[in-house]
């Protein structure tokens, strides 16, 4: 409680803060838990089954672009990371390899931009 109430922003009490945190956690959990627990049957509809199978890829596509271009400290370094990531992924490298490769390329590009160019 002491630790929580230490230097709180104006107008915020420790009790209020705890209430916010509890509500936030509860809502987030229920959103995840209810459909996951309640939904049991295998879906028969061919369209719906295909739809649900495609959802993860569509979600990731929409999350990645254009977000990836703003994921580093500058757009050029993000583009360098994206290119290396796409090439490595195209060669079917592992998740970790692609992630590290993209990150390394972005770092290298940023260093070049900052210290050399």
């Amino acid at each position: 409680m002491n630790e929580l109430s230490q230097a709180l922003p104006a107008g915020l009490t420790a009790a209020r803060l705890i209430l916010y945190m509890a509500v936030m956690a509860a809502v987030t959990y229920l959103i995840r838990m209810i459909p996951f627990t309640a939904f049991r049957k295998q879906i028969r509809s061919r369209f719906l089954r295909s739809f649900l199978a495609y959802v993860p890829y569509a979600v990731l596509g929409a999350m990645t672009f254009p977000g990836i271009f703003y994921a580093t400290s500058s757009i050029p370094s993000a583009i360098a990371g994206t290119i290396v990531g796409v090439v490595l992924a195209f060669c079917s490298r592992s998740l970790l390899t692609v992630a590290l490769g993209a990150s390394g390329a972005a770092l290298l590009a940023q260093i070049i931009l900052q210290y050399i160019v």
Binding site: L4, L8, P9, L17, Y20, M21, V23, M24, A25, V27, T28, I31, R32, M33, I34, P35, F36, T37, F39, Q42, I43, F47, R49, S50, L52, A53, Y54, V55, P56, Y57, A58, V59, L60, G61, A62, M63, P66, I68, T72, S73, S77, G81, G85, L88, A89, F90, S92, S94, L95, L96, V98, A99, L100, A102, S103, G104, A106, L107, Q110, Q114
Partner: protein
């Protein structure tokens, strides 16, 4: 179910890049919490009870502005409702080991990345694999938040900047290989990307929150692909019901 196709160990291995990515993303959240005038303990508690980036950041905004509780509820609902959709999609890829207690427990760990990795495994996943998959991301998310809150300013920005692209690199590794082989996946991905870019860059769509833009892009992209290429997942499911276990990766 006695034999699960994937082990806890395999889950942990697949969770490693997610955990590393989370470490860097949650670092930023830790910094934001302290910058807002709250303690590192608050930052850690929020991360440990939510494990969701966009939702936490928006929630922090409500806390700092002392907004009404209904605003907190609606914000979380809008941003995180995608987890409901992912949860339903994921139920179609689970084996019999997912009994109610396991679902109550593991549903907490449905994040974009965990969902993506778990639901794109070739065979149905069990509780061993899923628990393993969730472990390092949870540790990374919590640890990163604490580190960010305590020592956020110590890491050179050039390093933290480059770490920010890790999660996206992982996404590329998940979507590109199947998109090369299955036209349905390719269509779903390209359609979703197109919509997501339109929502982002056309001023017309400025009113859409990031959470809603993501849901609409994903739903329309997947629906288009399902309409054009409806049978893609049949082969995979037939194999699974026949109990045929094929080694892959």
């Amino acid at each position: 179910m006695k034999n699960q196709v994937y082990s806890f160990r395999e889950g942990v291995r697949d969770g490693l890049p997610i955990g590393l990515g989370y470490l860097s993303v949650s670092f930023g959240f830790g910094i934001a919490v302290v910058a807002a005038g709250l303690s590192p303990l608050v930052a850690a508690l929020i991360s440990m009870t939510n494990e969701t980036s966009a939702g936490q950041l928006a929630g922090l905004g409500v806390i700092v502005s002392c907004g009404p509780l209904i605003e907190m509820i609606l914000t979380q609902l809008v941003i995180n409702i995608r987890y409901s959709l992912m949860g339903i999609s994921l139920t179609q890829r689970l084996d019999d080991s997912f009994t109610t207690p396991w679902r109550l427990l593991l549903s907490f760990s449905i994040t974009d990345e965990i969902f993506a990795v778990a639901s794109t495994k070739r065979e149905r996943v069990g509780t061993h694999y899923f628990s393993g998959l969730c472990t390092l991301p949870y540790v990374g998310w919590t640890l990163g938040t604490v580190l960010g809150a305590v020592a956020g300013t110590l890491l050179p920005p050039i390093i933290s900047g480059a770490l920010g692209i890790m999660l996206y690199g992982m996404f590329l590794a998940i979507i590109i290989p199947p998109a090369k082989k299955q036209r349905g996946v390719l269509v779903a991905v390209l359609a979703a990307i197109t919509l997501s870019c339109l929502f982002r860059y056309l001023p017309l769509f400025d009113f859409l929150s990031d959470g809603f833009a993501l849901i609409i892009s994903a739903v329309l992209g997947a629906a288009l692909a399902a309409w054009l290429f409806p049978a893609e997942d049949d082969a995979r499911d037939t194999e699974t019901t026949a109990g045929e276990v094929t080694e892959h990766e």
